[in-house]
Symmetry: D2
Subunit: 346 residues, 4 copies
């Protein structure tokens, strides 16, 4: 049994981490912590009544001393990037494996933080040491990582279908020599906006709408880890969970639907959490609700050599807590699907 702790347990990703870790055969939750010193001492079931009678732990203040006092082997940080940037170095220094769900260690270039996060990174040297926790891509490196930057929700939905195609040279080149820019139109459920009581997240305020156009923080993360400049436009939809990304790609000469499909099939053969949809089947966010799956569908308009992909994930699972647990499983040598998939019917 590994001793695990969740910091930022009072947010949606934190609660999902608790939910998954509760059913993990090799984890014991030894501490729940708020995002900051001032948060804490609230019984967890008051924060999330669905955990009524399931977990007799109070949320403690989220400072390094309190966290380390619980003697965890692994800590999940579901904290804002500012908090993560401070907590992670202190924890790995003490030999604790850190799974950070914030953006604090996702970008390789410290210079991106002031621009996209209005944030001067206090530990830029650690960026090179952090491993981007997209398990399907970085599995080998995750085995020995001590600081894992769990990917953002939108980036997960976009990078998983795009990266194998980028690597295989499937993207068209423009006359000016640049690669054609994939267009990513994503819609997210409201849980992606977090649990802070903003007016825009009120029940009566949430309706289908674009936001953060040309300025969302996930743009540089997608571009860096997909290995290509993209154009990402997020939307909010009136539902709790799930991201659906619709992705447009101009294909290079020689690429057609079957080659695209084959490339993705080969890239993800044997992957437990990637499901390619059959032709003419388009995934809904309900198909992946509460799961760690990323469902991917595609079609090509051959006359324009235009590829349309849609991918669906649960933003709180494959887009956050589930992916973190998947990384945890890899890192500690547990079955990769532990707590994420129980299936006794092969």
């Amino acid at each position: 049994m590994l001793r695990t702790a969740v910091v930022g347990a009072t947010g949606y990703s934190g609660a999902e981490l608790v939910n998954l870790l509760l059913s993990h055969p090799h984890s014991r939750i030894v501490g729940l912590f708020g995002s900051a010193k001032r948060d804490g001492q609230q019984p967890f079931e008051e924060a999330f009544p669905r955990f009524r009678d399931r977990l007799d732990l109070a949320v403690q203040p989220g400072d390094v001393d309190s966290i380390t006092a619980a003697q965890p082997h692994a800590v999940f940080l579901a904290t804002p990037h500012e908090a993560s940037a401070q907590l992670a170095p202190a924890l790995i220094e003490r030999g604790i494996a850190v799974f950070d769900l914030s953006a604090a260690f996702r970008l390789g270039d410290a210079g991106q933080y002031p621009r996209h996060y209005a944030f001067e990174h206090p530990h830029a040297a650690l960026l090179a040491r952090a491993v981007y926790g997209l398990a399907e891509i970085n599995r080998a490196r995750l085995r020995s990582a001590d600081l894992i930057a769990v990917p953002g929700c939108y980036p997960t939905s976009a990078i998983l279908p795009l990266l194998p195609l980028v690597r295989a040279g499937a993207i068209a080149t423009l006359p000016d020599g640049r690669l054609s820019r994939p267009i990513i139109d994503s819609t997210s459920g409201v849980s992606g906006a977090g649990r802070a009581p903003h007016q825009r997240s009120l029940f009566c305020e949430v309706h289908q709408q674009a936001y953060g156009v040309l300025k969302h923080r996930h743009q540089p993360e997608i571009d860096e880890h997909a290995g290509i400049a993209t154009l990402f436009t997020p939307h909010l939809g009136p539902y709790e969970r799930g991201i659906l990304s619709t992705i447009h790609v101009d294909l290079a000469p020689g690429w057609d639907e079957s080659r695209v499909r084959r490339t993705l099939e080969e890239a993800y053969a044997g992957e437990p959490f990637i499901r390619l949809c059959r032709s003419d089947v388009w995934p809904s966010v309900a198909d992946v609700r509460g799961t760690n799956f990323c469902d991917i569908a595609l079609a090509v308009d051959e006359s324009w050599r235009h590829l349309i992909i849609t991918s669906a994930i649960d933003n709180l699972v494959k887009g956050a807590a589930g992916q973190a647990v998947q990384c945890f499983n890899i890192r500690f040598g547990f079955p990769e699907t532990a707590a994420l998939l129980t299936d006794n019917n092969p």
Copy 2:
């Protein structure tokens, strides 16, 4: 053209008032105000983008001087009861008719305010002067009122079906001499909770649930104006607008379904906004969405002499802004349905 002003225009009831007054043939909106001095100077369409290009007014600070500077004939207060209790006296003193959507002047007994609102009423003498704005009941008195206490949303849905029955002696008497207590189980959409950014009103937090059991502020209002002790239990439902109240009444001897129906038919004959449903038809909140109707259905279990009523209103219209405009129409001698019902197909 009457000059009208809305105070508390940045809340849901305030916006609904603006929406109705915009289409009122005898009103011109001369001022929009926040609930307090600090609110204001925001273009109204920034607060509510659906009014984009429809109303070129900024929200001003909601103090007496600013309001009176706009020289309104009538002011609608969609403000918290504390603010209304201060603003209303100052405005009526200046000869302005006040339609107060808060609870500040709904109760006749000032002693109820400390108990139910934790509030010491600063102008208790005015309680006797205020007219409770349930138009179907108090139409005559509304014609000369200068301070109209627009009823609460839950009370409207409960009092309208109950009052004619109470007056007609339809309620059973208990062995101890008290009247049997009607049971009112109501479910409200989330707009009833207002626009303040509370965690409990977030999209991901709203689910079917009881709240305020045995302690909701609308209990004394219902009891006073229905003329009978009741038991009111509110619930929240995951939708924007509408209240559905399910009401249980033990009938006195001699009362059956047809007599109940006849009593309500007679009480509301000719009323433009009360619709009695045919037998076996039960209204949904969608039937009244965006309207000033109160739909009422009923059935009697004759073997137990037990009456079940359901009533449906739009909490922001008949339960707030629409009822206020209905009172405004009565008060100023306009057709009672002005801005509330347009029907050229008799």
Copy 3:
């Protein structure tokens, strides 16, 4: 490994059964069947895309021969009562344990079926043999049952809080000698209406509304198994899953809030799926979503000796598939929480 089969697998309860059985450590699904002969041959993941790549089974026609050919030890019938009434006898005759989620065997008196279900029961003699599968009440009898009538969703939410009180004599007696009738106002999510494409279940048609007033089929089931005449009024709410029942009880002399609470605490001490809420906490349907819990909260208005209870369940889990699996666990001697609760953090 027990060999299990699900009949009516293309409905919501059927899919939930598959979901639970997939993760059951002692079950192997050997067959999925439609509700009738004509249904079938569809890959299960076409019926429910969320099972994509998880279960490589086609839905077979739901006749006795097809079902028995799969050689199941236990069959779950998520079929209409007409189909269950025919299938169950044939299956138990072949030594297969039957868990019937329909109402076909829930009522003890065959004479109720024509009246409430417009249905002449073809195997009335079996009604006495069937065990009503409310595990918390009938655990002992379930151990040796071969025909288990899994309770309805509304009845589960009503009987669980009421029965211990009825048994303890907590209900007031009326002057005429009858027990005071508990009032049950319940709201259900739309999945309770099933997957048949009726207009009333369309997305744009579902809004808060009462239905089936004074004539719902669950009325006799509640009364029989709660052991008291009640008044049950169902409502539909605009959400997918969950039932919230608000229950009103006139208490007998000598009963107050603490005695009620103590009675329920004692009745359900050690029960893994009953959670009593602390004072002033009222459960939401989200608290139990996807779980087999029944959450119960209560308060007493002492001056009227009036008890208010609210109970919350997931209609597809504790109200259907989960309760069926709980019965299955009891019947076959598995841990009662198998597939229903995984918790490694005691």
Copy 4:
């Protein structure tokens, strides 16, 4: 008073037509009809309870004789294209102005119907006579039209922002000489799927999802009336009303954000139903709910000369019934905003 009739009154667009015509100062509804002979004789308020007590008309069978017997001056066809294709010629022959909300007369080339609608057009000669009812574009021709093909919902949201840019030459040219294809990713509420009881439109089945990829019937309509080949991908979202279209355009040299904005401002100056959003404001479908507005926002990524537009309409109003009434107003010389916009606060 013009005598109006609605055919297909039991569908969502039909009901919205009734709703608008009820408040139209120059229309009197003289007949409501089903989509076919077999539909009919149902009181309208049974089909749509929200019209309770508002309209005492029964729905009649929708055949030519019944319709003409009502002696309407104008008929709105909210019928399937097969029915419209038969009814429209017979009605215009009798001198009745026809506003057809189906696709029967939207395409100029009869050859498109077999391909996209699996439909051999029985009156292809009429296609040239029909006027496409996008009021902002075809106002002049509508004044004398007798057969008006009211545009589809998705096309309305796409063509309105695109057409002025296409006409102005704002679209980039590809190396092969073709115009760069605008990408249109649209999300629609469920009412767009109509009221027929399909499983996919059930409350529990609707979740964010793409559908009809590369094969939606609105593709040729958009391309023909926008005057450019586009790539249209529709999505379904879990809400009742509204379409949000996110449109990507590669701009020709010389085009930047201010020029795009100026072009749209000039194209729609004085238009009562087109609202251009200020910079950095992105419309939600709630902003236009229940209205005839089309809200348009835009931004340009100058480094890639890439234009992003989002447009929002209510699919049942500007996307169907409202646009039909707007055409009706133009055709008969009424104020264009009659029944569509009441505003006494200039």
